[in-house]
């Protein structure tokens, strides 16, 4: 059994509500870092501060070269790609990937490369298909992919695309995602979870 080392979450339209549901459902003693890409405008509101209201875990906007801490939530800043490698955050200003910066695919792919079977990736509501390619890489590297049941998503396009792309993705209604994450974080990935 391999312990979960990192949780990554990607979302777009409708993400604020979905994220607050997921974060508020996590156990306060969850002992893995959580990194989130939410598509948003460069001058949008302070997402970290808004999400902080939904959890006792510390939520912060990510800075370059910050070392990830267990039980902390990191939000990708608008207008940067966020890559995770070996416990460290790298930001870049490279061109958008398939129209997105930050790109969920870039977060997922970089994490999959470094974390392999220790990774859990979550695709929530969104109106484009970012995250699908990344989710395929997560699964190929032995990580777990959780997808919000599209019928419970404000915008079903993104989770539907991810569910199509990853055969063994765990498709769960929104309110079941936090318990599943808590379970995976505590027990590791290959133990399987009740569907």
């Amino acid at each position: 059994m391999k312990k979960t080392k990192l949780i990554v979450i990607g979302t777009s339209a409708g993400g604020l509500h979905a994220l607050s549901i997921v974060l508020s459902g996590l156990r306060p003693d969850i002992d893995v870092p959580i990194v989130i890409v939410q598509h948003r405008a460069p001058d949008s509101h302070d997402l970290a501060a808004v999400l902080q209201d939904s959890t006792t875990l510390v939520v912060e906007e990510a800075e370059d070269k910050v070392i990830l801490q267990d039980g902390r939530v990191y939000i990708a800043p608008p207008d940067y790609h966020l890559l995770v490698s070996k416990g460290e955050i790298s930001l870049t200003t490279d061109a958008p990937v398939r129209f997105s910066r930050p790109s969920i695919d870039v977060l997922f792919e970089s994490s999959a490369e470094s974390y392999g079977t220790g990774l859990v990736a979550v695709v929530l509501t969104g109106a484009n298909q970012d995250g699908s390619r990344g989710a395929v890489r997560v699964a190929a590297a032995g990580g777990r992919v959780i997808v919000q049941d599209p019928s419970t998503a404000e915008s079903p396009t993104m989770p539907a695309a991810a569910a199509r792309s990853v055969k063994n993705a765990l498709v769960l209604p929104l309110e079941r995602i936090a318990p599943a994450l808590t379970d995976l974080a505590a027990r590791g990935i290959t133990t399987g979870i009740r569907k």
Binding site: D43, E61, D64, L83, S90, A95, V97, D105, V106, R137
Partner: protein, 293 residues
């Protein structure tokens, strides 16, 4: 002239290796590629941050129609034109005019009053890329009446982007976004006063550059070249690993006068550097610091 617009600005993209590509071998190949490039051409990317570096390498490799890093090494060592393309992919940083408008607003309010106390001001814009932020700064300083008391040294590793920066022609379709940034940054004029339409580009008033010197400088291998009152280096060091970041911080520290100002990118922090204690924040959120020892 209009050929300048967008020549390098579409660069700097990320790509992913095939899922089946062997990871350890990839690391070895990339190390050999970087050694080869350094030995043969003198460009030192060996201490660049690996996660973004490898994706930029894959972008070039894919665009060259190749399938292994070793093949790219062969290609760039034997074809200087391919090396030029790789250099652009590895070193071009994408920016916009008045990126992070709140930083410029803070610079106006917190740094300009300090600069007024100097008879002459030297500013180093390190890693200026295609010049968007140099023009932004020049506009700000001119509006504050400091235009002729200041000299800006704008440097980049890459001669091709400096040529574009000197030309001062930016894509016309960006002007709406830049105008909004300019207003949020506290601009006091009409932004359109600063440029004229020029084919598909917006050509910025060359007089803005009368006190700007563009020149090639490599942060990794070159030394300090003067003492400065202000150093701006935004979103350049995010491509460096921690060790190299610290070396470059050392270079900046020795290049700043006492009480000199250092401006970093919005998501860069001295927190992760061992030079933190030598500065005090002027505006922590906007990453404006002042040297105190």
């Amino acid at each position: 002239m209009s050929g300048f617009t967008g020549k390098t600005r579409t660069r700097a993209a990320l790509a992913e290796a095939p899922a089946t590509y062997p990871k350890e071998l990839e690391r070895t190949e990339i190390r050999l590629l970087l050694e080869g490039v350094y030995e043969h051409y003198g460009f030192d990317f060996r201490e660049y941050a690996y996660p973004s570096l490898r994706r930029r390498i894959w972008k070039r490799l894919t665009d060259e129609g190749l399938s292994t890093v070793s093949a790219l090494q062969d290609c760039v060592l034997h074809q200087p034109e391919a090396m030029e393309r790789l250099l652009l992919d590895l070193s071009v940083n994408v920016s916009t005019m008045f990126r992070d408008p709140a930083m410029y607003e803070s610079f106006r309010g917190n740094v300009v009053p300090l600069l007024r106390t100097y008879p002459f001001i030297r500013i180093w814009h390190a890693g200026c890329s295609t010049g968007e932020e140099v023009y932004s700064l020049a506009i700000l300083l001119q509006e504050e009446g400091l235009g002729d008391r200041v000299r800006i040294y704008a440097t980049d590793i890459n001669e091709a982007v400096l040529q574009e920066a000197r030309a001062g022609i930016f894509p016309i379709e960006k002007m709406q976004e830049y105008t909004q940034n300019y207003l949020k940054a506290g601009g006091t004029h009409a932004f359109s006063e600063y440029y004229t339409a020029h084919y598909d580009g917006a050509r910025f008033d060359p007089s803005l550059m009368r006190n700007v010197v563009f020149s090639q400088h490599n942060l990794v291998t070159d030394r300090s070249f003067a003492e400065f009152n202000v150093i701006l280096c935004r979103n350049v060091m995010i491509y460096f690993d921690r060790k190299l970041q610290d070396r470059v911080h050392g270079l900046f520290h020795e290049s700043l006068v006492r009480t000199g100002v250092l401006v970093l990118g919005h998501k860069e922090s001295l927190r992760t550097s061992r030079y933190e204690a030598l500065y005090e924040p002027v505006d922590l959120k906007q990453k404006i610091y002042r040297r105190v020892s």
